[in-house]
């Protein structure tokens, strides 16, 4: 008998229906096609038409189905019945839950709104949650940015008017040299991967600067195995080389940056500020006349080399600083762990790529001074950086240094360089300043977060100059803390410093576990009681979708839906999903319903907030008659206007044909759904580059509603707001820093980028190694472990040790080690890695889990072999004997310095389980 190939159905119908929405397993926010069979999700793939991911998905996105079916999902509102942290809850109805919340929050608002602290994690609706908090009237609101990447975000905004973070990207289609600093994965996961793929396909050069060579750095053509915390030195040495060789873009510097601006050199309260005219416009010397002129005068040719009345240009100041021998490659090589010759070689490569083969796009354009340019000239060198730079206590200045490098070679907003995504660029001075003035029963005086221009914008109480915010954001300790300091909320609330709060409301942040420093102590703070036996943080309300570690510490749990079951809005008012050529926004919508059997069910937390706002009568959320203005979040998305005609979504406004500006359109969400869940608006061809100075762009941005009038600006090589804080520290401001901070402010708030050793180094004696974490591409923080597919990939996490340590300590496969930092000790499994900086150890972030959580078995490897490095990281620096506790954060922004961690490693007998081990949480009542 001869073999018959079986009949195959090669054209099976994939599903009954496809619904297009937006992924949620990270802030990348890719478009997804959700396939349904019999009303249930059967398969999820990338949406080909979507501007973010163009059809691709990452490992998390492609296993989203398991996020929805996870048994760890909460099923009903919960009221705590056992002690905090025990996990003992009873299910209650939504009426009870909302009633309780109103009973707690209503009196607070009337009496002391600051006693509600509302902090959110990687909340994708910050423009909404912040508005809610503002309407409530508490100054205590922020999202996770303070412990995440505020250094990067703030340095970018203050310098360029946009940052690497999510507000810009390399010109993937044109760049020829791409240099990546300190990135394992980042928020822009799929665009970065798509971009790297494009570079690889063209054979463009990729350089990875990272102590660890995995992932993106593994495919980089060259690897700079930098010693953590020293990137600033490396970058300034590159700048030194480029300056010494004169290989910088003078024309770019003169036209588009404050390099030609004159720095006041007369002693007194203006010293070091830029000279300005009567209208406050910075002055430059016009080459044609030799006379000072406002920077934006039509036809002006600024002179970089001018000196006027003893005042020199920013350009001269910077040249003087960085040409100094202390920034020569030889001077930094040892500290960076990179040979001087390699630094020189890199500088050479950068210069040749930027200047020897310029990229020209034949697209005429007109700048803000009215000059018409025949073409767009590119510098095809691009950079990207993230937390490897950001999460150090010198991160803000390091990020500024990197932006300076980009500016010097003229590679920002040019073809082949780094490009902004609308609605960026938007300079710091066009952003709000922080607001913190609160009064009982009244909304806050403005948005919480912003970009201070000087000490007058600090969030200090007017009477006693004490911190207005519970996290001490925008104080002298961290003046530019543009994202707040999430990591300080629980310690400060527990200590009652600067004041006591009543209710801590958290939303999707696993603060009793992986997102806190010093996790064990935070658990104690959450359960600590005062003399009267009451919890020192009296009430905790928490919204999560899953049985996470944090749920156990809440008094009231408001269970959320998953991303496939609710409306969401990925708004330009928030963190945009645009790309440089398109403004884009998107929605989520309930593509399936959340079935919860006999339980009270889950509700979208945003809709719960809308409901609470109605019940509490928050201004903006109720009508003149005091009735709720919005039925739910979807209603808010379409109905809310930030400014007249400008709302959360730009597409299909008014009668459905208007973009950017237009009256609210009740059909808007339906139109988005019909359009695949997103909307894009093309940036006109003439407006695609040189956006801060390009008239066509500025005009387009106004029509889109990004701002109300053109607002061209110069890149801030010299950062004046920083100088204003220095001046205060020198005694020239009515607001004065406390004595113990004066010297630090003078030293760190330098208006030109500097480098100083990360604060963690001060305690380095006895702790020779740097300890880092990296995000695994296939896991999202704590919350991938409940996914049955993903946890097979990363079920536990060894600590990787470099060859030198591995051999010196005589480690063997399967060994364990005790890892000790100045603040604690853990015992964990180790593994060997040669492709690693000699002084660095690392592990994957957030794999370790607390027993009993996430509906995992108590002996799950996440709990028995997995571990967190967080136990070794303190939110405060070790005592220095000055009677003060300094925070383990960047002194400018308050960014948590996760990566300043220093440790030592010794072989240890394998304990039964990773240590420290905590008692299991008994969540049985939930299942």
């Amino acid at each position: 008998m001869s073999f018959q190939e079986p009949e195959l159905d090669r054209s099976p119908r994939v599903s009954d229906e496809v619904r297009k929405t937006t992924c949620y397993m990270c802030a990348c926010r890719c478009g997804i096609d959700v396939h349904l069979k019999s009303g249930r999700v059967s398969y999820i793939e990338g949406n080909r038409d979507h501007p973010v991911n163009k059809g691709v998905l990452c490992a998390k996105g492609a296993s989203g189905i398991r996020q929805v079916t996870a048994p760890s999902r909460l099923k009903a509102p919960l009221r705590r019945v056992g002690p905090r942290g025990s996990g003992a809850f009873e299910e209650i109805s939504w009426d009870e839950a909302l009633g309780l919340a109103v009973q707690w929050l209503g009196p607070l608002r009337a009496r002391a709104p600051e006693k509600l602290a509302f902090f959110t994690g990687r909340d994708q609706s910050q423009s909404f949650t912040s508005l809610w908090a503002q309407a409530f009237g508490t100054p205590n609101y922020a999202a996770h940015g303070g412990f995440c990447s505020v250094n990067m975000a703030a340095a970018g905004i203050y310098t360029l008017g946009g940052s690497f973070w999510e507000f810009g990207q390399p010109d993937w289609d044109r760049t020829r040299l791409f240099i990546l600093f300190g990135v394992a994965e980042d928020h822009d996961s799929n665009p970065i991967k798509i971009g790297i793929g494009k570079l690889k396909a063209r054979g463009a050069r990729i350089i990875g600067v990272n102590p660890i060579r995995t992932g993106y750095n593994a495919v980089a053509d060259d690897w700079f195995a930098i010693t953590p915390g020293t990137d600033g030195l490396l970058i300034l040495a590159l700048i030194h080389e480029l300056l010494a060789a004169g290989r910088i873009d003078l024309d770019y510097l003169a036209r588009w940056t404050n390099a030609p601006c004159l720095v006041d050199e007369t002693e007194g309260e203006e010293k070091g500020l830029l000279l300005r005219d009567d209208l406050g416009r910075p002055l430059v010397i016009d080459k044609a006349t030799g006379e000072p002129a406002p920077y934006d005068r039509q036809g002006l040719r600024p002179d970089l080399g001018a000196t006027w009345k003893g005042c020199r240009t920013v350009f001269q100041h910077l040249a003087e600083r960085y040409l100094a021998p202390e920034y020569a490659p030889e001077a930094v090589a040892e500290r960076c762990g990179i040979a001087a010759a390699r630094i020189r070689a890199l500088a050479g490569l950068i210069a040749r790529t930027a200047f020897d083969e310029p990229l020209v796009i034949d697209q005429p354009w007109t700048d803000f001074r009215g000059e018409r340019h025949a073409a767009m000239i590119g510098r095809p060198v691009s950079f990207h950086a993230m937390r490897g730079i950001s999460a150090h206590s010198n991160g803000f200045q390091t990020a500024r240094a990197l932006h300076l490098l980009q500016i010097l070679i003229g590679s920002v907003e040019v073809p082949g360089g780094f490009r902004f995504k609308p609605p960026y660029p938007k300079p710091a001075h066009a952003h709000p300043v922080p607001h913190s003035y609160f009064m009982p029963g009244r909304p806050l005086d403005g948005p919480h977060l912003g970009f201070p221009q000087g000490p007058e914008h600090l969030a200090l109480k007017l009477d006693d100059q004490s911190p207005a915010r519970i996290d001490k954001g925008f104080t002298w300790e961290n003046p530019l803390s543009a994202h707040g300091l999430m990591q300080m909320v629980i310690p400060n609330a527990h200590a009652g410093d600067p004041y006591r709060i009543d209710t801590l409301m958290l939303y999707m942040a696993n603060m009793s576990w992986n997102s806190s420093m010093n996790t064990g102590a935070v658990m104690e703070m959450l359960t600590a009681r005062d003399e009267a036996g009451d919890y020192t943080i009296p009430r905790i309300i928490y919204s999560d979708a899953y049985a996470s570690e944090m749920v156990a510490y809440a008094d009231l749990v408001l269970p959320d839906t998953t991303y496939l079951e609710r409306h969401d809005c990925i708004s330009l008012l928030d963190r945009p999903i645009s790309d440089p050529d398109h403004a884009a926004d998107a929605i989520r919508w309930p593509v399936v319903t959340a079935e919860r059997g006999a339980h009270a069910g889950v509700r979208p937390f945003q809709s719960v907030l809308v409901d609470l706002a109605g019940r509490l009568g928050l201004p903006g959320f109720v009508t003149a008659e005091g009735r709720p203005r919005y039925a739910d979040y979807a209603d808010y998305i379409t109905g809310h206007e930030r400014r007249p005609g400008v709302g959360p979504l730009i597409g299909f406004r008014g009668d459905g044909s208007q973009t950017g500006r237009g009256a609210p359109n009740p059909d808007q969400i339906a139109r988005y759904i019909a359009n695949g869940g997103f909307f894009t608006a093309d940036v006109p061809a003439e407006a695609r580059f040189f956006k801060p100075w390009n008239r066509a762009y500025q005009d387009w941005a106004v029509t889109m509603g990004f701002y109300d009038q053109p607002q061209p600006y110069l890149f801030q090589i010299y950062c004046e707001p920083m100088r204003r804080f220095q001046l205060a520290a020198e005694g020239y401001h009515e607001r004065q820093p406390p004595e113990h901070l004066r010297a630090r402010i003078r030293a760190t708030m330098d208006p030109l980028p500097i480098w100083y050793p990360p604060f963690g180094d001060a305690a380095a004696a006895g702790y020779p190694l740097h300890a880092l974490t990296q995000r695994p591409m296939a896991m999202y923080h704590s919350w991938g472990s409940q996914n049955e597919w993903l946890r097979q990939i990363h079920g536990h996490n060894p600590l990787y040790l470099p060859t030198a340590v591995w051999q010196a300590e005589g480690f063997r496969d399967g060994d364990w080690a005790r890892v000790t930092s100045p603040s604690g000790s853990i015992t964990v499994p180790v593994a060997h890695m040669a492709a690693l900086n000699d002084h660095t150890v690392w592990t994957w972030n957030a794999i370790g889990k607390r027993k009993g959580t996430w509906a995992l078995a108590p002996d799950a490897p996440e709990a028995t072999k997995g571990f967190l490095l967080n136990h070794l990281i303190h939110e405060l620096l070790p005592e220095r004997g000055d009677g003060l506790r300094w925070s383990n954060a960047d002194p400018i922004t308050g960014q948590a310095a996760w990566f300043d961690l220093r440790v030592r490693v010794e072989r240890a007998a394998p304990p039964g389980e990773s240590e420290p081990a905590f008692p299991p949480i008994d969540f049985r009542g939930l299942q």
Binding site: R791, Q792, I793, H794, G795, A834
Partner: protein
């Protein structure tokens, strides 16, 4: 390879069973007096029982045993399929010979010769299932069919009551085992598969190449089935047991003790114990090239 009890029992029992059936069939041709009556019933019965038990054990190795009949279809290409046919042929061909001798009416010698050869061929076909696998270099060698045959002949000869004559195949088996262990130890290296050929990263590596991280921290079928690490000391001890119990001691017993039920039983039990040890090692020591991907080796 994972030393699964099902395959160990299958190969040991069916090997002994077909060895016994084979030698019972071949016996007259070799000049042995055919037994009859109860003795024949017991002997042939034992042969069928062993072969049957082996077959049943092999069923436990299948994911879908209810479809076992399908295994007959691919005899032209598949040794496993051929084995199915050979097994049936051996069992069928032995039946009349067995029946006749139990009834005391032995068939012509030629009939036993045919059935016996089919039984022994079955054992060789079984061996070929393993010996054909290039992926397991230790198995991909003539010593494997030789060993399987050796065990079948020795076991068969002991059980068939060949007495001192059974010492001969036993001794040969012992020598063969020692040889096979020796040769086997060098097979993987000789086969030339390395992590460098498995990944193609050899030339770039120049120096070191190793598995940095497995694809999953969780386990999987491949790791359970194909990657098994035996301690060296443990292996050495078991090898000794296999050679001593499986070959040397039975030979000594059969040569030294008077032929009879006692010597046969003692030798048979020792031999089977040795066979089990050898078979455990046969799997446990066999390295599959896929282990290279996981850094096993």
């Amino acid at each position: 390879m994972h030393p699964a009890p099902s395959v160990i029992l299958f190969t040991v029992l069916s090997g002994a069973g077909f060895g016994l059936l084979g030698l019972l069939g071949l016996g007259p041709a070799l000049g042995a007096a055919p037994s009859g009556g109860l003795a024949a019933l017991l002997l042939w019965g034992l042969g069928y029982a062993l072969a049957g038990a082996g077959l049943i054990a092999s069923g436990f190795h299948l994911g879908r045993p209810e479809r076992a009949l399908r295994a007959f279809s691919q005899w032209r290409s598949s040794w496993l399929s051929r084995e199915a046919w050979a097994t049936v042929a051996a069992l069928l061909a032995s039946a009349p010979v067995a029946l006749a001798s139990i009834l005391g009416r032995p068939l012509p010698v030629a009939a036993g010769l045919v059935s016996g050869l089919i039984c022994l061929a079955t054992v060789l076909v079984t061996a070929m299932i393993y010996a054909q696998l290039k992926t397991v270099p230790r198995w991909h060698h003539w010593t494997v069919p030789a060993l399987f045959a050796g065990f079948a002949l020795t076991g068969g000869a002991i059980l068939a009551g060949f007495g001192p004559f059974a010492a001969l195949p036993a001794l040969a088996l012992g020598a063969l085992m020692i040889l096979a262990f020796r040769i086997g130890d060098g097979r993987f290296a000789a086969a030339g598969s390395t992590l460098a050929t498995a990944t193609g990263l050899g030339p770039a590596a120049g120096g070191g190449l190793r598995s940095f991280a497995p694809p999953h921290t969780g386990s999987n079928y491949l790791m359970r089935e194909m990657i098994h690490v035996v301690g060296r000391r443990h292996a050495r001890r078991l090898r000794r047991i296999a050679v001593l119990a499986g070959a040397v001691l039975p030979a000594l017993i059969l040569a030294a003790l008077p032929a009879g039920i006692l010597a046969t039983a003692l030798a048979a039990i020792l031999h089977l114990a040795g066979a089990l040890a050898q078979r455990w090692l046969f799997f446990a020591e066999a390295e599959h090239v896929v282990g290279l991907y996981y850094g096993a080796r």
